[in-house]
Each structure stands twice: as structure tokens, then as C-alpha cells.
């Protein structure tokens, strides 16, 4: 390799950031990136207090890098990512809305951040007050009386919710009630729903989505039986539609003493418009990292609070955050609780951010309207606008008024040999993060677009212009779509090789 090519290939920096070695390759013996005070007490040799066969010395594999180089390393890595703060993120079902900066700042207030979970309660008041208030606001918006904030993510919330369902039935079964073994899950559900039911020990009964993209009452009637423990339904569903028959379905489920679990992943469409409790919902989880704007963090931390009707309160995880007089307390004496589901009290660092957001979107001065309703309305209007603009160019999977997201199919483009994945990758060339693809499974080559309320009309128009341009390329110049992406950090990545020759940690031998 010529020196010229080597220098070009290894060039780094904000403008042409291409290759960044791993931490381990940047390591140089003797370099350090830390400073500690001199130990004020006699230094102990570990082997003098711990059995020798349990001890180890320095871990020779750990990297040795100076602080400046560590900073550059991570700043360069950061620059190789798409994020909300750089652009529109039309990921369906993920609610990639703007993450307000004030929420980050208040979450860093030292006296809020340093609270230790095992301090006496009188030292936990700020944290418990925040959790208590958040629970109250979630109750206001859902109509469900009691909340736990312990689940660390949506799927974790599902786990808690279905365990509560099971605890409810187990109690009845002990008193001679029927054995409940099955949970109804629509075929459009997120993968977490069936996975959760299995984890808790329920069988899945799948119910098909009707021709209009929603579950039909007759299809529920067909599979209704005394063994049904309940239903797990996402509403609005993953087809981006409101389950119009939800109330009747809830009645049917209740008629066999089943419980209605609503997956609140798509709550952003209906906040302030309808209350899940009024729809017949008994248990529900909410993704604070979707509807209530806490940052996705490249894959967490999230938070998945679970709300229940009052008769299910006794099953909520231990402990509950309650208020007695002016003191906030942890109620631990809950004999019928499903137990503890995470180490301490949930992702409190996320609860702070969500509360700040929810207080920002309160009742609008001099009106009885709330910004939360405005939020949902704007999100739904934006999605419908995209549906309207793209309709002439793409097959709309369910072409009626949608909620917060619209689902396209690749049926038209398939005629030109283009699939959904190609369209997604081509979007990158135009500077956008792709939409959610191939979900829901029931739509052929699904492309799920969720604009959220955060975007301006100009952004939506620009995105639609690009989508329309890609639709035209599919007809006139399919090659550029098939070869995409060619303008971003990487071209087609060999995913098969990652599985056939697994390299799941760095090793000194190069690939």
C-alpha cells in the first residue's frame, strides 16, 4: 500500500471521519486517562487479605489511552450516528420525537442524581415525590388508578402486566375458578407480546387482523373460551389504526372473566383524546421513552410504567410509592404482589425527564385544553398528511384515516424489482434515517412511518419529496435504489458474514 493511500484511508477528523480504530488498537503502554488522589491510608496488597487463588493483578488486556485520545475516540464514534438532533427520524412505532434539553438538565441536578436507594426514606423524598407525581399524571391521562414505575422498558412492563393478569387468575383458581391458560394476541402485535406471554407461562391464541386493519368482534367471539386469561392488544395498533371495536372486545373478554391488557407503545396518538380505562382496559404499560420524550439513548434506558384498575392494585410489584401526610413512602407490605421486578425502583433517571416533559405539556393558560392533546392531534395530523402525499406513489396498506403512523407496502415498487429494504437504504442516501421496515408482519413489505408532532410541515414536505423521488427512481433508474446506500459512512454491510464467522469481541488478529 502506498503511503499516499494509507494516509487517505486512515484519515480522521470531523469532515472525513471514516475509520476509527478500536480502543484496544489505540492502546499504548504506559498512557493513562485518569487521576486519583494518593491513597491516604496504607496500601493493601490484595493477597494479604484475600486467598491467593481468588486474586488477580492488573488486567493486561485493558487499554491504556490518554484522556484527549479517549475524548476524540468517542466524539468520532458519535459522529458516525444518525440521531434526532441531526434529522427527521420517521421510525414507525418508535415515536422518535424531540428530546427537550431542559429535561436533561433537571435530571442532572446533583441532589436528584445522587440519591441512594437504601438511604432512609427521609433522604429519598425528592425521588419519591417525582415518582409519585409521575404516577398521578399517568393516572390522569389513562384513567387507571394505580401505577408502578418499576419496569425498565416496554417489554419489562408487558412482563409485569401479564404477571398481574396471571396473579389475578391464580387467586381465582385457588378458590375454585377455571384454569386460565391462553392469552389472545392479534397477529399484528410487536414480537415482545408473544414473547412476554411465553415467559409468564401462557399459550398464545392468535387473532387475525381484519381487512380494515383492525380486529373484528366476530373473530374474538370465535376463539372466546373459559380458558382465555385475557387479551393483549396494542391500541392504536401497529397498522397505525385505532381499534374501533375495542370497547366491545373488552366486554367480550370480561364476559369470560378475562383481563384486557393494552400495550401502550402507540399511546402518543391518543393522549388527551381518550382514556384507556374508558375503553375497557384493565392493565396497560406506557413507554416513557416514546410518548413522553425521554431519549432513546441508542437502545435504552427506557421506562415502562404499568397502570391497573384499583382491584388489581394489590398485585403491583413491591414496593409502591405512596404518600402519607406530607411524606412520600415506600409501601413494602404487599402480600399479594407479584414481587420485585428490578433491582430497586425502576429507571428513576428517566422518570425525572418524563415528569419534566409532562409538566411542560400541561393545561394551556386561559383554556381547558392541554398541550398533551395538542401533541397527539398534531402527531396524527402529520401522519395523515404524509399518507395523503404519498398515496399516489405507494400502496397504502390500510387507506383510511390513520392515527400517528402510516404503513406503506412495496407492492407497486416490487414490479420494478425493488423491495422495501432497498427503499429504506436509499433514504439514507438522501440523508434520512429509514422508516421501520417489514413490520407489521401482516403487511407485504411494510414501511411504517411515524412523523410525531415534533416536525414542521417543511420537514414533512421535504421527506415526502424524497420518498416520491425514490418512487420515481424505482421506475426509471432502479439500479441506484438497488445499490443504495452509496453516500453514507458504509455501503451494504455483510450481515451473513457476521453470523458465519462470528467476531463478537475484539481480538488482536485483524479481520
Amino acid at each position: 500500500m502506498s503511503e499516499h493511500k494509507r494516509l487517505l484511508d486512515t484519515a480522521t477528523g470531523p469532515l472525513i471521519s471514516q475509520e476509527e480504530p478500536t480502543l484496544f488498537e489505540k492502546s499504548h503502554p504506559g498512557r493513562i486517562g485518569f487521576s486519583l488522589p494518593t491513597c491516604p491510608v496504607p496500601e493493601i496488597n490484595p493477597t494479604s487479605v484475600i486467598a491467593g487463588d481468588l486474586c488477580r493483578g492488573e488486567i493486561s488486556e485493558l487499554p491504556e489511552i490518554s484522556e484527549n485520545e479517549i475524548v476524540r475516540h468517542f466524539v468520532r464514534l458519535s459522529q458516525k450516528n444518525y440521531c434526532i438532533d441531526t434529522g427527521f427520524y420517521p421510525l414507525g412505532s418508535c415515536t422518535m420525537k424531540y428530546n427537550p434539553k431542559i429535561n436533561e438538565e433537571v435530571a442532572k441536578i446533583s441532589a436528584l442524581a445522587t440519591v441512594h436507594p437504601l438511604w432512609p426514606e427521609k433522604y429519598l423524598q425528592p425521588a419519591l415525590a417525582i415518582q409519585y407525581q409521575l404516577q398521578g399524571l399517568l393516572s390522569s391521562l389513562t384513567g387507571l388508578e394505580n401505577f408502578t414505575l418499576q419496569p425498565n422498558a416496554g417489554a419489562h412492563g408487558e412482563f409485569v402486566g401479564i404477571k398481574i393478569m396471571k396473579a389475578y387468575h391464580d387467586e381465582k383458581e385457588k378458590k375454585g375458578g377455571p384454569k386460565k391458560t391462553k392469552v389472545i394476541v392479534p397477529d399484528s402485535a410487536h414480537g415482545t407480546n408473544p414473547a412476554t406471554c411465553t415467559m409468564v407461562g401462557y399459550e398464545i391464541v392468535s387473532v387475525p387482523t381484519g381487512p380494515n386493519g383492525i380486529v373484528e368482534v366476530a373473530d374474538i367471539e370465535k376463539i372466546l373460551s373459559p380458558e382465555i386469561a385475557g387479551i393483549m392488544m396494542t391500541n392504536p395498533n401497529t397498522c397505525g389504526l385505532f381499534e374501533t371495536h375495542i370497547h366491545e372486545i373488552a366486554k367480550l373478554i370480561h364476559s369470560v372473566d378475562g383481563l384486557f391488557y393494552m400495550d401502550g407503545a402507540n399511546f402518543n396518538a391518543i393522549v388527551g383524546i381518550t382514556k384507556p380505562a374508558d375503553l375497557g382496559v384493565d392493565i396497560m404499560h406506557i413507554n416513557l421513552h416514546k410518548t413522553f420524550s425521554t431519549p432513546h439513548g441508542g437502545g435504552g434506558p427506557g421506562s415502562g410504567p404499568v397502570g391497573v384498575r384499583s382491584h388489581l392494585k394489590k398485585f403491583l410489584p413491591t414496593p409502591l410509592v405512596i404518600k402519607e401526610g406530607s411524606q412520600y413512602k415506600l409501601q413494602k407490605d404487599l402480600p399479594e404482589s407479584i414481587g420485585r421486578v428490578s433491582g430497586y425502583y425502576g429507571n428513576y433517571s428517566i422518570h425525572i425527564r418524563a415528569l419534566a416533559y409532562m409538566l411542560s405539556l400541561g393545561t394551556i393558560p386561559n383554556t381547558e385544553e392541554t398541550y398533551v392533546k395538542k401533541m397527539s392531534t398534531a402527531a396524527v395530523l402529520n401522519a395523515n398528511y404524509i399518507r395523503h402525499r404519498l398515496r399516489p406513489y405507494f400502496k397504502i396498506a390500510f387507506d383510511s384515516i390513520c392515527m400517528h403512523e402510516v404503513i406503506l407496502s412495496d407492492e407497486i415498487q416490487e414490479k420494478f424489482g425493488i423491495k422495501t429494504l432497498n427503499i429504506a437504504k436509499r433514504l439514507m442516501d438522501y440523508g434520512y434515517h429509514p422508516m421501520t421496515v417489514y413490520f407489521p408482519l401482516i403487511v407485504h413489505g411494510a414501511m411504517m412511518i411515524e412523523p410525531t408532532e415534533s416536525e414542521t410541515k417543511e420537514t414533512l414536505d421535504q421527506f415526502c419529496d424524497v420518498m416520491i423521488e425514490i418512487a420515481k427512481e424505482c421506475e426509471t433508474n432502479p439500479k441506484v435504489v438497488l445499490e443504495a446506500p452509496t453516500r453514507v459512512n458504509r455501503e451494504k454491510i455483510d450481515e451473513l458474514r457476521a453470523q458465519k464467522q462470528p467476531r463478537l469481541r475484539w481480538l488482536p488478529t485483524s479481520i
Binding site: I59, L62, P126, N152, A155, P194, I273, G297, G299, I493
Partner: protein
Amino acid sequence: MIATEAATGTFRERPVSPKGGSTASSESSVEASMKYIPQGKDDEKELLKAIGLKSTEELFSNIPSQLRIKKPLDYPRAQSEIEIRQTFENLSKLSPVPSVSFAGCGVYSHYIPSIVPQIQGRSEFATAYTPYQPEISQGLLQAIFEYQTLACQLTECELSNASVYDGATALAEGVLMALRLKKKSEGKILVSQSIHPFYQEVLRSYCTVFEDRIQMLPLEGDVLSLKALEQNIESADVVVTQSPNIFGVIENYSAVSKLVKNSKAFWVTSTMEPFAWGVLRGPGAFGAHIVTGEGQSFGNAAYLGGSSFGIFATRNEYLRNLPGRLVGETVDQKNRRSYVLTFATREQFIRRDKATSNICTNQNLNMLAGLIHLATLGKKGFREVAVQNLSRSEYLKNKIRSETKLKVSSAATFNEFTIESREDASRIVEAGTQQGFIPGVALGSLRSEWSKKLSIHANELHDLEQMNSLVRFLKSYE
């Protein structure tokens, strides 16, 4: 009333009466947009017109009218940014801030280098989604790959995932994974009584289906009874241990290892304080099949115990049974080194009800803080933090032993240990808080039979004066 109360009281007032008696169900009469919702009335009109609708009400025509909210929501007034800041400042003052805390027991307030929050808070990391699109997510993917590597190095395992929720759920997921690998068997799940009681509770919540197979292994002093393990291991499918344990005591993994190796059981370990691996061999070195841990100590503030991240490592042979996300190295079309989420066929979004776990979102940003912290420490710093923690804890332990009448356990510990008093340890904590500091965790709050035990943790942030003051304070107890 179920609505929130502003703890501050300042911003609590209910909305004043509406103009012209409009109701929440009629078309929004709101003129202004707000800073997070750019869509103003003019935009709204334009968008509605484009799609051929008359009002935003029509957008919700699929929601039966009787199911829609008619009455104004019981919801507090919207706060401006200035008010939000004030609200949280006020909330933060609801409790005093202790002058110093010796609390540990699974959450450790180590020093967090300044570069950690600076980098972790960058938009490109904080506001990105899970890196499902590798071409535009190489930075996040490489960071996860580097974390997986470090986690392997620390635990002395071959394989690590991208993190799970926390230490307690990591342990529970570990046991579920072991049970999957032992699927035809009906043996016992032996769980050491020395494991943090909260972890035990989470394990039970996760394993209700297998509840009748769980058998607790008794303690011998402050460690797992090896005799009990030996007597029961033949009937076991899974052995679950924690080191350092809830008393801060280092379990004898050499001895456990010998017993496990002569059995058919899978060994799942937990570590609440991963800095212990700066002086202790990783559990993988003793042949543990699944190694789990709490990652909070690396780069994350206490935050009431969340958010943090769970460490999850194992052997290559169990790759297809691993829960959670995994990043692998590969190349792109131009043969450039690239990273990608891989072996997704284990996960819920592909396998649905047959998945290895229902986990989807994990704790990526917390893991990133851990990665940056570990990178700054590096080979020398990681060791030095561990040795300083051990040294300070030993200093404190010896001083309490020689200068007070309290009983100090003689078992080997890392950076926390327990002392026993004749009186309830919660009274010692209460007395400490009267002086504005927190002397430790009264273990009776975790299990009533431990009411006389006080757990004390010391790390690189505790200076000599703070440690000496604690000893002076403890002199009045016996």
C-alpha cells in the same frame, strides 16, 4: 383526585375558566403552538385542507364518540422552562443532602470522571435509536462491540451481550438461560442465601414457572455453606451465587468451582460491585457458565438504583441461547471493517413466542457511560481504583475493630463489610442522620433477621477525615 400535585405548590393552581365555554371535545381553539409542537393554527389549516378534512376532530372519527374525553383533564397548568427548572430545584430540596454516605449494598457512588457525562450526553449517542441500520450507526455499534470486549476481559468470559436492565434482572435472565440449556431436566435451582434479597426477589418473580425447583442454600457465617452446596449439588440443574455477597464478603469460588465441575449443574454468578474484578479473578476463570453483574459502578450515578445496566457474559458455546442484543464485526461491500447487530434470530422481534427473552430496549446509554469510564481508567486505573477501595475499606474495618466495641466480620471483603451491634442497626443509621451523614445500610431493611448488621462501604471518594469521623461516631455503640 388522582391528578398530580406539584410538590412545590407554586404552580398548582387549576386552569382559570375557559374563554367562551369551549369544551375539550370541540375543535381545538388553541391559537399558539408551543416550542415542542411547531404545528400552529395556520399549519393545521393547511394540512387539514390538503387531506380534505374540515377539523382535527375528524382525525379521530374512528374512536367512538362516547369513548372520547369530554370533560377537561385533571391536569396541572403547563410550565415554562423557567418554571420547570424551579420545580425540580424545589423538589431537590425536599430532603437534606447527607454530608457523606457509606451506603453500598449494590449501588456504589464512585467518582465519575468529567469526560463521562460530557460524552454520554452528546446528542449523537443520547438521541439515536437502537442501531438497526448499521450503515448510519457505526459509532454506536463500535462502542457496543468495545463494551462487549471489556466485559469479557473483566469477567474472564468468552462472550458478552450489549447489556440488560440491571444486575438483578441479569441474574434472573441468567437463571432462565441456564434452565433453557437444561430444558429436559427437572433438577433443583440452588440459590445462595448470601445473595442480595432484592436480587432473590427478582429471581423469584422471573422464575414463578419454576418456583417449586428453587431451593435456598443456607449461610455459614457470612458466606454460602459449602457443605450444603456439596450435599445438594447432585440434584441441581443450576447453582446461583454472588460474590462479593450482600455482606460484602468474597465467596470461595475455588471451592465452588470444584463442586460444580464434578456435577451436571450450570453455575450462574452475580456481582454487584464489578470494581471487585480489579483484585479478584473473573467468575469465568473459575468455570462459571453464566456471569452476571450490576454495571452501575462504572460511570453511572446512584439515581435511586436506576437507570444502570446489567452485565451478562457466558461461553461461546451458548451463543444461541444468549438473551439481549449482540454486536459483531464484519465488512461492508468495500471490505471496510464494519459492525452490525447479529444473531437476531434469538430475539423477540424475529422469534416472537420462541425468543430467548422478551427484552427489547436495554440500557445502552448507561452501558456507554460504563465504557467511557473504563476507557479512562484503563489497565492501571482500574487496578488502582480497586486497590484504593480495598485499602480504605480495610483501614476502616481495622480501625472499627480496634477502636470500637462493635463486632467486625473476619471474612475477606472488597470495599464493603458488615459490623454487628447489640442494638438495631437502623438506630445507628438514624443517629448518623441526626448528624447529617449516613453511616451505612441497616441490613434489617432487607431482611429482618439481619437487623443487628450494618453494611459499610468505602471507596476512592471517602477521605481520611470522613473515615475517622465514622469510627469516632461508632465508638458510642457496642
